[in-house]
Amino acid sequence: MSTYWRTFKTAAWLGWEMDSNWTEPWLFVLYSVIKPVAGAFILVLMYIVFVAIGRPQGDPDAFSYMYVGNSFFIFVASVLFGTFQVIQSDREWYQTIRYVYISPISYYVYILGRAASKIAVSVFAVAITLVFGVMFLGVRLHLALTDVPLFLVSTALGLSVLLAIGICLGGISFLTAKHTHGLAEGIPGLFYVFCGVLFPLSVLPNWGQAVGRAIPLTYWFDITRRLLTEGSTVNTTLGGYDAPTILLFLVVSSVGFFGLSVLIYKIGEYFARKAGKIDMTTSY
């Protein structure tokens, strides 16, 4: 266990250095803020344009729904990317995977450690985006003190699921070419569409709603929104479940996805070793 912990700590430190030491701290902070805030502003402008030409009286509930979902989606994009890109960057760019891989550590734990720095930066970015929304865009947020433990537990579970999904993708990317950008865009895109991040599941066709209900992140976004934007009139289609039930879904799916991540990682690793692909490079 101490080896795992040491690996995790060292990998987290390495990830932080790789993420942040390319520039001055102030520039890194600016960089970490501009990207998510600009992402939120795309949605703000979409809303403004629609209000300008489609619904002059506006729709504050729909806007808050979208804004909170988008803020927490920062976790999805960056934690997933921070996890699965470890294999591809070590393999293709730094070409150090062969040295790390043969060292006497758990590569699985090493990947988790490398992703930890991305989570730390994301927490900061999410907080900034939410505060910005409340202060300048009229987003209505309220978190009751009694709900704080539930909020923290659900956030931890949501992040666990994200890490597990990231490891699953990492296992697959052992065998694929340099698809970092396709994966970075596409997989979060999948959750963007089906998990009720920006619009409720009711907008999707029935099969799309079924897909959304099978993904644990849907429940994470739902419970987060229930805690932060109480009293919203948007029909999420999950109103029939109470908060503890949603949390139970999250717990069960976290455990399930952890098992799945170990399985897919092991399978990917096995076939990559068999095909001699652990340290391949695919530069086009």
């Binding site: 992402g39 030409i53 619904r55 396709g182 596409g186 619009f199 530069s283």
Partner: protein, 328 residues
């Protein structure tokens, strides 16, 4: 003078050499992509989902607006900011919401095709020389006898072809999955705007390629930084004119975003495919002809600047001897 030296200074030979370099550098991108079937899934299908999310947002807004116009037992039917005076007015508002929602979805689809090219410019043009340095190919390129612009040109041609698959799949999905209707009245002008936009975009990418090499590791992060902020300031997912509706900072951001050729190109493409009367004609920047002229100007300017940046880079690299120093 030997025959070999005589041939090297011959214009026909040099043109042929550089054309072969263009073909040679574009070849691995085109063929490499074809030899890797998983590329189609990762680069063409998966990114469609992100575009679909933006489409569904507009559909969500459209449904909310329609519900407000239709009203329900607790709320009267609202036409704009007042209660609908008659069924005719209600129908008029419903038709307007439907038309605007469809036009916005079409704007997202067109923006999605341009996103593909912009990401290719950032990650496969601008970052490419830096990437080549990291993996050790750059010195080979520098020693080869062709003009370095031919190398960048080859990267651009290969990148355009490779990316067109994603762009086309986005368009096809827009038409067949999301039911977007494009009304193209002037296909020749549409093609002219499209290719002028691409040349200007890739010219910008060629210029960035040299600059990124100078900036080192910061450049990699700069590419990441030029995704969402550029999508926002250049109006990839909404008509750029929307930014001009915001008093104060809105026009400033829009003008800054207009330095990326995709913004002006998208505005012109949207006018040509949706009609200049879409959105009540209130969200366009300039007319199409003016925008085409701006794009042509940008294309010429960026290509010239790319040539100068490359020459500067070569001089600097020779003087400082750092061209092949990796991870800096």
């Amino acid at each position: 003078m030997s025959v070999a030296t005589d041939r090297r200074t011959d214009l026909k030979y040099r043109v042929g050499l550089n054309l072969r370099a263009v073909v040679g550098r574009s070849y691995p991108r085109i063929v490499g992509a074809n030899r890797e079937p998983s590329w189609i899934f990762f680069e063409a299908f998966l990114p469609l989902l992100g575009i679909a999310a933006y489409v569904f947002i507009y559909q969500f807004f459209g449904l909310q607006a329609t519900a407000a116009i239709l009203g329900n037992p607790g709320n009267p039917p609202m036409c704009g900011d007042h209660v609908c005076a008659s069924v005719a007015e209600q129908n008029q508002y419903l038709a307007a919401v439907n038309a605007n929602t469809n036009a916005l979805i079409a704007s997202v689809v067109l923006g999605g095709t341009m996103v593909a090219f912009w990401l290719n410019v950032l990650w496969s043009m601008a970052s490419q020389l830096y990437w080549e340095k990291e993996i050790g190919n750059l010195q080979l390129y520098m020693m080869a006898p062709m003009n370095r612009m031919a190398l960048l040109g080859g990267m651009a041609v290969g990148g355009m072809v490779m990316t067109s698959m994603r762009a086309v799949s986005t368009l096809v999905a827009g038409i067949f999955v999301f039911g977007v209707i494009f009304q193209v009245a002037n296909p020749l002008l549409l093609l002219a705007v499209f290719f002028a936009t691409l040349i200007a975009l890739y010219g910008l990418g060629m210029m960035f390629a040299s600059l990124y090499l100078l900036w080192g590791r910061e450049a990699w992060n700069l590419s990441a930084l030029m995704e969402e902020p550029i999508f926002f300031s250049s109006g990839f997912y909404f008509p750029l004119g929307g930014l001009f509706r915001i008093p104060g900072w809105g026009p400033a951001v829009a003008i800054a975003g207009s330095f990326i050729p995709a913004s002006i190109g998208l505005d012109a493409l949207r006018q040509l495919t949706l009609g200049s009367t879409a959105f009540g004609g209130s969200l366009w920047i300039f007319n199409v002809t003016t925008e085409l002229e701006i794009l042509v100007g940008m294309a010429v300017l960026f290509l010239i600047l790319a040539r100068y940046c490359l020459a500067y880079l070569e001089t600097l690299a020779k003087r400082e001897g750092k061209l092949t120093s990796r991870h800096q």
